[in-house]
């Protein structure tokens, strides 16, 4: 399938505009960072680590007072000191010697100048602002709560009676702690660089000042990357997914539009390096599709694709209308994560399934040779079904249909447990045709506009050829940034 796509196009896929999200880098960008750490135990029994400043009031005054370079020098050797794995973040944020926190820096309202300008306040303000964005996107408050809950569970003495459960909890805890620490460290670095820079100025140490400035600039750039990485930090964002497209009312016109939309996703997935397989399709009588499902396999496929859920609207002169009139067509898109974690999967009972296979009627068996081997599986209690006809054996069609069914039931289960933002879990049948998210106008003017963010692209062809990252990311960041953080 994918091959035939390339057959008809010979365009080089554009380089991806963004790096795929990776775990936050732990590399220390600044060799000069001095970060003595203390560990303490919080009232909750959590072991806590923070960089210089947060807890160790004992030495801070001397450093921030008449500290001299020589008093800092010995600290430089402590860089590799790292905190134990189970440490949690604490409420008190890192401060500079004169008491500035990230929030306080933002509060100062320092003008953010071009990166090129060597102004430490501008760098600091930009970094601090990014830190706030990152925290918001990570839903910081919720994340801290969650880390505490998990730590509490991990401290229970009978936890390892169920090693499977314990393993999951400890893995989840580890992941969250990794994210928290990544941000904390970043904040810590910021205040340290500011301190160093001020110190260098006091001591007229141009070399140290230049070095700190460079470090701040580098942090500023890295902060932008981290902002993007933080977009995809939802529970199932890293999963592969199914994308389903269904034509709206309006016959051939809409079915053709549905096929264009599906095609847009196939090309998008291809650009992103995801593997695409067509799982299910109901072709239109004359053109296009009534409905189709593709599987998009790869890291963060769901995280990105979930931004596409809703109704997509097309305005164009119809190629099917001999009167050359303008038509408006609709296609609905649903996105279903393929959960990796077996324990959250919906348990399907074999006896609840009805399996229907399509074959030429008549005698069957040795009488008939056909390559048609579609399989439809119905989950009787919920009425949910899945069909696959694109594999080359019936056995494989059944396996694929089963995978789709499993994910649809998982999706139902997720929605039931309300673990996810409801709008991303809607199935096709639940998407209201009123829920238009994007409009593609080919006539009388040419424009794609996301109705949720007002993000616009003036070249619909590029969008329909799969260049939708801009639309996706602007939506994801907007929706995350407006979410009130419960911190």
């Amino acid at each position: 399938m994918v091959f035939s796509l390339l057959l008809k196009r010979s365009k080089t896929p554009k380089p991806l505009p963004l790096p795929l999200p990776l775990p936050l880098p732990t590399r220390n960008p600044n060799p000069l960072r001095a970060s003595p750490r203390s560990t303490a135990t919080s009232p909750l029994g959590l072991s806590i680590a923070y960089g210089a400043g947060a807890l160790s009031g004992t030495w801070r005054p001397s450093r921030c007072g008449e500290a001299s370079r020589s008093s800092i020098a010995p600290l430089l050797g402590l860089r590799s000191f790292s905190s134990p794995a189970t440490t949690a973040a604490i409420a008190e944020p890192p401060r500079t010697c004169d008491g500035l926190t990230v929030d306080a820096i933002v509060g100062k309202g320092w003008t953010i100048l071009d990166e090129g300008e060597s102004d430490w306040r501008s760098h600091a303000a930009a970094i601090a602002q990014s830190v706030q964005v990152i925290k918001k996107r990570l839903q910081w408050g919720r994340m801290i709560d969650k880390s505490m809950q998990l730590s509490a569970i991990l401290n229970k003495s009978d936890l390892w009676d169920d090693p499977d459960y314990a393993g999951r909890i400890s893995r989840e805890h580890g992941e969250i702690m990794g994210k928290i620490k990544g941000v904390n460290q970043f904040e810590q670095e910021l205040v340290e660089h500011i301190d160093l820079l001020k110190l260098a100025r006091e001591e007229n140490d141009n070399e140290l000042e230049a070095e700190s400035m460079r470090a701040l600039l580098e942090m500023r750039r890295k902060a932008k990357e981290k902002e993007l990485e933080a977009i995809l930090s939802g529970d199932n964002d890293s999963c592969s997914c199914f994308i389903e497209v269904q034509a709206g009312a309006g016959g051939t016109e809409s079915m053709d539009w549905a096929a264009m939309v599906m095609n847009m996703y196939m090309m998008w997935a291809q650009r992103r390096g995801f593997a695409v397989t067509v799982v299910e399709e109901m072709p239109g009588e004359i053109a296009g599709i009534k409905r189709a499902t593709i599987k998009v396999h790869g890291e963060y496929a769901f995280g990105y694709a979930k931004a596409e859920v809703g109704v997509h609207r097309l305005v164009r002169i119809s190629p099917f209308d001999s009167g050359k009139r303008r038509h408006t067509s609709f296609a609905a898109v649903a996105v279903i994560p393929i959960l990796g974690n077996v324990s959250t999967k919906y348990q399907i009972k074999e006896s609840d399934l009805r399996i229907e296979r399509f074959r030429a009627g008549g005698a069957g068996g040795q009488h008939v040779n056909t390559t048609e081997s579609a399989v439809r599986i119905v989950h009787i209690p919920t009425g949910i079904s899945a069909t696959c006809q694109n594999e080359r054996s019936q056995h494989q069609n059944k396996a694929s249909a089963m995978a789709v069914l499993q994910s649809r039931l998982d999706q139902l289960e997720i929605a039931r447990q309300a673990q996810m933002n409801a709008e991303h879990t809607q199935s096709l049948s639940e998407i209201s045709w009123g829920n238009q998210i994007r409009s593609y106008v080919l006539h009388p003017y040419r424009m794609v506009k996301d109705l949720r963010t007002n993000y616009e692209v003036s070249d619909p062809d590029s969008v329909l050829d799969g260049d939708i990252d801009g639309l996706i990311l602007s939506f994801l960041s907007a929706s995350l940034d407006k979410n009130e953080d419960r911190a």
């Binding site: 399938m1 994918v2 091959f3 035939s4 796509l5 390339l6 057959l7 008809k8 196009r9 010979s10 080089t12 053709d256 096929a259 264009m260 599906m262 095609n263 847009m264 196939m266 090309m267 067509v278 399709e281 109901m282 072709p283 239109g284 009588e285 004359i286 053109a287 296009g288 599709i289 189709a292 164009r316 002169i317 190629p319 399996i355 229907e356 296979r357 074959r359 009627g361 005698a363 069957g364 068996g365 040795q366 009488h367 008939v368 040779n369 056909t370 390559t371 048609e372 081997s373 694109n390 594999e391 080359r392 054996s393 019936q394 056995h395 494989q396 396996a399 062809d461 329909l464 050829d465």
Partner: protein, 346 residues
């Protein structure tokens, strides 16, 4: 703009569009001169297309013209949406990767003109798609097939599941009688433990050759033994020791052969289809022979022509041969036809 690439593309990509108004009878085919395909085919052992080396190449544009030509040929002659899917598979099998580099040359496993010939045979001679590409996807296997060997049917996939439900099947000795491409033997062989074995027989040397090829490709030489000969004849040494017997013997009544769909009637081997006057000749022979070939408690599963045939066999084995067999059951295929008869040896 109106005919912009994505939607012509999408129809090729997503689905062969249905063309309900285009059906035309296969007029040229009924007079096809070749009711029995090349009897010397065994000498012509070409590999399945997807296994051949990438010795050729063609510009993307030529491959695209082939595709367009093939689509229009398919649509002009018959109303069959599966043909376009087959065309995609043909190109899948003939070319290297799913993601070819964006060069203008696509590496190929057959010369482009060969693809043209193959597709012409598909449409004009109704040569089965599986013979074109030399393979059939069956269960999770990809089996080599060629003229002279029956293309395994999806109904038969279920026989492997029936075997999988038999207690202790993993360690037993099994027989697949009339193994054809080796489908059942391989399907079962892959589920067996070390001490389990399958003896697969066939009278046809084409079948024996193809089955050996497939067994080898799946690395089952130590588990699946192919023997040439008629039904039980090559199995004298394991008589009475078999834990189970499966067979999908020829079961089409001779008088029905001329009416078969061209892909079957004109191209598949008569030896694999012809079940004698009422289609029961081989089945009866197999049922009878199983009584002495199976060990006590041994299992059997036979595929039949359906409904009346299964009922007849089941009755016979319950009543007349009840002293040899018990627990006789009829199992439906996915179309709801009474397709299989299963039971145990006393």
């Amino acid at each position: 703009m109106l005919l912009r690439l994505p939607f012509t593309l999408s129809s090729a990509l997503l689905s062969p569009p249905l063309h309900p108004h285009r059906s035309k009878p296969f007029s040229s085919l009924s007079s096809s001169p070749n009711p029995n395909p090349n009897p010397n085919h065994s000498s012509n052992t070409t590999l399945p297309l997807f296994l051949r080396p990438l010795s050729y190449s063609a510009p993307v544009s030529s491959l695209l013209s082939f595709r367009l030509w093939a689509e229009s040929l398919a649509l002009s002659s018959v109303d069959d949406p599966h043909l376009l899917r087959e065309l995609s598979w043909l190109i899948d099998d003939a070319s290297a990767h799913k993601h070819p580099r964006n060069d203008s040359l696509v590496p190929l496993r057959a010369e482009l003109h060969e693809l043209y010939e193959l597709w012409r045979e598909r449409i004009e001679k109704r040569r089965p798609f599986q013979y074109l590409v030399g393979c059939e996807h069956w269960r999770d296997l990809v089996l080599g097939v060629r003229e002279g060997v029956l293309i395994p049917r999806p109904e038969t996939e279920m026989v492997v599941d029936l075997v999988g439900e038999v207690e202790g099947f993993e360690r037993g000795w099994w027989a697949d009688l009339g193994t054809g491409s080796g489908a059942l033997a391989i399907g079962i062989g892959r589920m067996l433990r070390e001490d389990g074995r399958v003896f697969a027989t066939d009278l046809s040397s084409d079948a024996v050759e193809v089955a050996r090829f497939n067994v080898e490709r799946y690395g089952l030489k130590d588990k699946v033994e192919i023997r040439q000969g008629s039904w039980f004849e090559p199995l004298q040494d394991v008589k009475g020791k078999l834990a189970g017997i499966v067979s999908n013997p020829p079961y089409i009544p001779t008088s029905h052969l001329p009416g078969l769909q061209p892909e079957v009637g004109l191209h598949e081997p008569r030896l694999a289809l012809d079940g004698g006057e009422n289609g029961m000749d081989h089945l009866l022979h197999l049922c009878e022979g199983s009584a002495s070939a199976l060990k006590s408690g041994g299992f059997f599963a036979f595929e039949t022509n359906g409904d009346a045939h299964s009922e007849f066999l089941a009755d016979l084995m319950t009543a007349k041969w009840g002293k040899f067999f018990h627990n006789i059951k009829i199992v439906l295929d996915f179309a709801g036809i009474k397709r299989f008869v299963t039971g145990y040896c006393r």
